[in-house]
């Protein structure tokens, strides 16, 4: 199989995240991503995987690769993205997150947390306080993601809120992140600063909370197929695989 360029926006929220639009439904997300010529997307709601499978199924029907993921909030209020291959038992990490997440959501304050099926039908809502912080230190989250052979990426490291550098001052030595995500807001100079200071690959994703936000920034991966192993190789620049931030 040949290597090919895949345009990917892996950080997209659905209507399950209280801060995201209720229009962020599986088919709607997939169609918008296809319209923008993205070839793969990732779904990572705050502290929950519960809508990711519906988007993956919608993607399979419509011809778009969807990676299932999660954006976990650590005890230090750092956001960490986890992405997984299709057959991964995602409830392993979900159970750990829910066990360490307290409180109930208040829809009037934080927003609705809608569960949707692969045909955009709303089938319920999640009552937990998904916007809250878990009691899990960043190291435990990264380890849990890696135990499931997933990809661990620090979210929007340039941002003042929920970014690992703003919360912890610097990236803890020995934290085995696979990459750092830089938000669409970061300038080229700022991006260069991160790659100069830290020895981690950089990626750009949109962190879309609305349909208009999808693809606002993305990264292109030269890979054989969409799977965690290939994306890891691209991040490491191994065997001709690579990643370019757009």
């Amino acid at each position: 199989m040949m290597l090919r360029w895949m345009r990917g926006d892996l950080h997209i929220h659905t209507c399950l995240s209280p801060c995201a639009d209720s229009s962020m439904l599986p088919v709607a997300i997939v169609r918008e991503a296809k319209r923008l010529n993205l070839q793969m997307i990732g779904i990572c709601d705050h502290n929950s995987i519960e809508n990711a499978e519906a988007v993956r199924r919608a993607g399979e029907r419509e011809g778009l690769v969807v990676m299932e993921g999660i954006e976990v909030t650590s005890q230090e209020e750092v956001h960490i993205l986890g992405f997984f291959d299709k057959k991964t038992p995602l409830w392993d990490i979900q159970d750990m997150v829910y066990k360490n997440l307290c409180g109930d959501n208040d829809e009037d304050v934080f927003g609705e947390q809608l569960l949707a099926d692969e045909y955009d039908r709303v089938i319920g809502s999640n009552k937990r306080l998904l916007i809250g912080a878990t009691g899990l230190p960043v190291e435990k989250i990264v380890d849990a993601i890696h135990r499931l052979e997933g990809l661990a990426i620090a979210s929007h490291v340039d941002r003042e809120s929920f970014g690992i550098i703003s919360q912890l001052g610097f990236i803890p030595p020995g934290l085995r992140l696979d990459a750092l995500e830089v938000s669409p807001l970061a300038s080229r100079e700022r991006r260069c600063g991160f790659s100069h200071r830290y020895n981690f690959p950089l990626v750009n994703f949109s962190d879309a909370h609305s349909l208009e936000g999808i693809g606002r920034s993305f990264s292109s991966f030269l890979i054989k197929e969409v799977c965690i192993e290939e994306i890891k190789k691209a991040l490491m620049g191994e065997n001709g695989r690579k990643v370019i931030v757009e």
Binding site: Q75, E76, P137, I165, S166, Q167, L168, G169
Partner: protein, 114 residues
Amino acid sequence: MKLRELIKKFNLEIKCVANGLDRKIEGGYVSDLLSDVIANGKAGDLWVTLQLHQNIVAVASLNNLAAIVIVNGRQPEEETIEKAEKEGIPIMVSKMSAFELVGRLHSAGISGMR
């Protein structure tokens, strides 16, 4: 005021570096954003925070802070204590909230102004 006196006065639980409590406290700073402490924490400050992560030790060391007090009775991670012991940064735990502790420290003469 010396750290030792504050520990007694406010009933702080000593977590590490029990032999380093004679340092003079020059002032105080309260923040849970470590990037902010790097920017604004001054040498000799007593730092009040709820963060437990081991990076607090490196930040205190970097800015030559006198000691760290963790509030709300939260217990620091093991790695944090080990690192603090190595770096000689005393860590204490207070059962009080940050608001209450800082108010009392201020009344006791610890200032945020230099």
